[in-house]
Symmetry: C3
Subunit: 343 residues, 3 copies
C-alpha cells in the first residue's frame, strides 16, 4: 500500500482535515496497533481515548467529528465502510501461482491433471489421483493414491491428503492440514491393542475451507464427510465417520469424536469438545470451551462442561455467585433457631 | 467394493429378502450415512426408525426380521459380525509401497538402510540414521542425525523426527507428527528468557501408533518415552521427559506437561490436560476434558477440572443440580422462622 | 556421553563412595527413569525411596549422605548443580548444519540469501524473499513471496511461512509450525459464508521461539505480532490480529482469538482459551485450562472457566467443597423448625 492521504480521501469521497494531505500512507491497522505511516478508522465511540493515543498518521472519522486527535483526519459518512474500501483497493496483490508443473514434482504417470493447474516444487501426486482444472498444489503437498481434487482448489504448502479421498471444487486447505489419516480405533485382545482397519475415506464438499494443521481422519468404513460451504479453523480434530453438514463453522482447537453428526448452519466455538455418536442440530451454537456429552436440538445454544442450554447454565452460574450469601443466611438461621430453642 | 447382493449373502451365509439379488453394492456405511449403492447393518433395535428412513440399497438384518424397510434385506444370525466380514473381504486393497529409494530422496552416505525399505519422494535421512527392514518412509519425511527407526514401521507423509531418537519396530507415525522437537524450557535472566538446552531424546517402543500432527518433545536430558503398544491420537502434546507406560491410550488433543508419568493400560480421554511432575497409575482412566493437577492412583477413574474421583464428582454434580431447590428451602425456613419470631 | 565415574567426580569436585570408580557412565536421567549406565542426582529428600529403587549406576548425593543405595555415589556440596555441570559438559554435540544450499532446494532467482546460510534439501524460497546471515532452513521448509527472515534463525523441517511475513533475528521455529495462514473470517451473504480477504501479515520479533505445529494466522489487515523474546510452545493457535508483547510465555495448546492483546512478561498456561478483542495485562498469569472471557488487569493471576481472580476462585471452590455439609445443615434446620411448629 502506498498512497497519499489526498488520494485516499478521493477514493472514499471524504474531506481531509488537520494536516498535510500529501503525506504518504503505507499501511492500515486498528487504532491500537497503528504505527507511523498507517491509516486507521474510528467506528465506535468507546475507542476515542485509544484514538487520541494512537500513533496512526491518518484516521477515518465521521462527518462533523470535532475532537482534537494527533492523526490527520479524513471525514466520511461511514468510516468503517470507507476503511474496507481502502483495504480492498490498496491491499497487496494476491500471490498468483502460474499454471505449470514444477520439474521437482513427482506425478504418477496415470494421474489425471486438469487444465491450467499449478503444481509447485516437491509435490507428490500418487497413481490414480485426479486434479481438477485451475487447482493450485503448494510446495511439498501430498496427494494420495486415487484421491480426487476438484476444480479451483487451493492446497497450501505441506498439506497431506491420503488415498482415495474426494475433495470438491473451490476447496481451500491450509498448510499442514492432514486429511485421510487412519481413524483411532483399536480392539483389546490378549492384553494388547489391535488396530481396526480404517478403510473408508474423507469427503470434502464444494466451498469448504480447512485450517492449518487441522486433522480429519478417514472413516472406519464409508466416509468422514464435511458438507458444502462449511468452514473449519486451525488445529481442529475431526475423528472418523464424523459428518458435518452444510455452512457450519468449526472454530480453532475443537475436537469432534467418532461418528458424531453436526447439522447445517451450526457453530462450534473454540476449544469445544464433542463426544462420539451424538447429534448437534441445525443452527445450534456451542459456546467456547464447552464439553458436549449429549445431543443438542436444532437452534439451541449450549454452554458449559458438561454443556447444557445456555439459559439454564447462566441461571446456575448466578446461583453459584450467591453461594457465599446463602451460607451466611443458613448460619443466621441456625443462630436464630438455637436462640429460640433456649428460650 | 463391488459385489452383488447375492454374492454378499453367500459370503456371510445369509438369505436375501425383498429385492433383486443381482443389484450391485459399491459401498458400506452406517444406517444414517448410507447412500444408494451402500450396504448397511441393523445391530441395535433403537435404530429401527433410522433403518426405515435409510437410503441404503441393502441391509444386514437378524434372522426372522419382519419389518418393512426400503432396503433389500440379507437376513443373518449376527448382522454386526456379518458386516465386519463384508468390510474385511471387500475393503479396498491397502496401498502398498514397493521397496526402493526414490531418486529425489536425499540419504546420507553413512545412513544404514535395511532390506526392502520403501523410501518415497523427497525424504531426507541424515548422517548416522538407521532405517530397519521393510520400513516405509512416506513423501517429505525427515529422519534426523543418528535417529534409529526399527523394522516394519510406517511413517506417513511429512512426519519429522529429529536427531538421535529411537523408534522401535512396527511403529506407525501419521502425517505431520513431530518427534524430538526441543522441550519448552527457559530460565529468566536479566529480564529475558534464556533457552535451557534440551539434550535428551525421544524413545518410542514397539507397536506404538502416533496420530497426525501430534508433537512429542525431546527430553531435557535422558528421554521422553512412549512404552510398548501405547496408542496416541491426533494433535496430542507430550512434553519433555514425560513417560507413558505400555498399552495406554491417549485420545486426541490431550496435553501432558513435563516429567509426568502415565502408567500401563491407562486411558486419557480427549482434551485432557495433565500438569507436570505427577503420576497417573496403571489402568487409571481420566474422562474427557478433565484437568489433572495431582497424581491419580492405579485403577481409579477421575473426572473434572480440577479432576477428582468420578464418584465424588458425580455426587457433587448432583448437589449442584439441587442448588435451586436448596435456595428455595432456605427462603421458606427464613419465612417460617420470621413468622414464629413475630408470634 | 561416555566418561568414567572417576572422571565425572573430578569434573564436579566430588568424592566417589561405594563402588568401582572406573565404571563407565553413558547417560544421565532422573532417578525414576535412570537405567544401567546412567548417572542421576539426589536433590530432594522425598525422592529417597525412589533413589533406593533406582537402576542408576551412579548417583550424585550431598556431602555426608549416609544411606545405603545400589548406585555408586559421588558426594558433592550441591548435587543438582553438579548434575547440570555434567550435562553441560557431556551433552552430545549439537547438530551443525554446514553453510550451503542443497541442490534440491528451489530458490527464486531474485530471493536475497545472506552469508553462511544453510538451506537444506527440498526447501522452497519464493520470489522476493530475504534470508539473513547464518540462518538455517531445515528440509522441506517453505518461505513465501516477499517474506523476510532475519539473521541467525533456525527454522526446522517442514515449517511453512507464507507471503510477506517478517521474522526477526535469532528466531527459532520448530517443525510443522505454520505462519501466515489466512485468518478465520467470513461474512454470511445469501445463506453462504463469503471469505473476508486476509491481507495483513505476521511479524515475529527478535529472539522469539515458536513450537512444533503451532499456527499463527496472518492479519485481516495490519499484522499479527509476536513481541521480542516471547516463547510459544507446541500446538498453540494465534488468530488474526493478535498482539503478544515482549517476553511472554504461551504454553502448549493455548488458543488466542482474533484481535486480543497479551502484554509483556505475561504467562498463559497450557490449554488456556482467550476470546477475541480483550486485553491481558503485563505480568498477568492465567492458570492452565482457564477460559478467559474478559480483560485481565496487569499483574493479576486468574483461573477458571470463565476465569476470574484466583483468590476469589479458590474461595468459591472452598465453598463448593462445603456444599454437602450445607445441605445437611439445612435439613437439620427444617427438622428443628418443623418440630417447634408441632409443639
Amino acid at each position: 500500500m502506498d498512497a497519499s492521504i489526498e488520494e485516499l480521501a478521493a477514493l472514499v469521497g471524504g474531506r481531509v482535515i488537520g494536516g498535510p494531505s500529501a503525506t504518504h500512507i503505507t499501511g492500515a491497522a486498528a487504532i491500537a496497533d497503528a504505527q507511523e505511516g498507517d491509516i486507521t478508522f474510528f467506528g465506535n465511540a468507546k475507542y476515542l481515548p485509544a484514538l487520541r493515543a494512537s500513533r496512526a498518521t491518518c484516521a477515518l472519522v465521521p462527518d462533523g467529528f470535532d475532537e482534537a486527535i494527533p492523526a490527520v483526519q479524513i471525514q466520511v459518512a461511514n468510516p468503517t465502510l470507507a476503511f474496507s474500501k481502502i483495504l480492498e483497493q490498496l491491499a497487496p496483490p494476491p500471490i498468483v501461482f502460474a499454471p505449470g508443473i514444477h520439474p521437482s514434482a513427482v506425478i504418477a504417470a496415470d494421474a489425471r491433471i486438469g487444465k491450467d493447474v499449478a503444481i509447485q516444487a516437491h509435490v507428490v501426486v500418487e497413481p490414480g489421483a485426479v486434479i481438477g482444472d485451475r487447482t493450485v498444489l503448494g510446495p511439498n503437498v501430498y496427494i494420495g493414491h486415487g484421491t480426487r481434487v476438484g476444480d479451483d482448489c487451493k492446497i497450501y504448502a505441506s498439506a497431506s491428503i491420503r488415498e482415495r479421498c474426494r475433495i470438491g471444487n473451490r476447496v481451500i486447505i491450509h498448510s499442514g492440514a492432514v486429511l485421510g489419516s487412519d481413524g483411532f480405533g483399536f480392539e483389546m485382545a490378549n492384553g494388547r491393542y489391535v488396530k481396526i482397519p480404517q478403510t473408508g475415506i474423507v469427503q470434502i464438499d464444494d466451498d469448504v475451507e480447512i485450517g492449518a494443521n487441522t486433522t480429519i481422519d478417514r472413516a472406519r468404513f464409508g466416509r468422514t464427510w464435511i458438507g458444502e460451504g462449511s468452514k473449519i479453523d486451525n488445529l481442529v480434530q475431526i475423528a472418523h465417520n464424523v459428518v458435518i453438514g452444510k455452512h457450519s463453522i468449526i472454530v480453532s482447537q475443537v475436537g469432534i469424536s467418532g461418528s458424531s453428526r453436526i447439522g447445517n448452519y451450526a457453530t462450534l466455538a473454540g476449544q469445544v469438545g464433542v463426544v462420539g455418536h451424538i447429534e448437534i442440530g441445525d443452527q445450534a451454537v456451542v459456546a467456547a470451551k464447552s464439553g458436549v456429552s449429549k445431543s443438542i436440538p436444532a437452534k439451541q445454544m449450549w454452554w458449559g462442561s458438561p454443556a447444557g442450554p445456555i439459559q439454564e447454565q447462566k441461571e446456575q452460574h448466578a446461583r453459584l455467585n450467591r453461594l457465599a450469601k446463602l451460607m451466611e443466611r443458613v448460619k443466621r438461621l441456625e443462630e436464630q433457631v438455637a436462640a429460640k430453642g433456649t428460650k
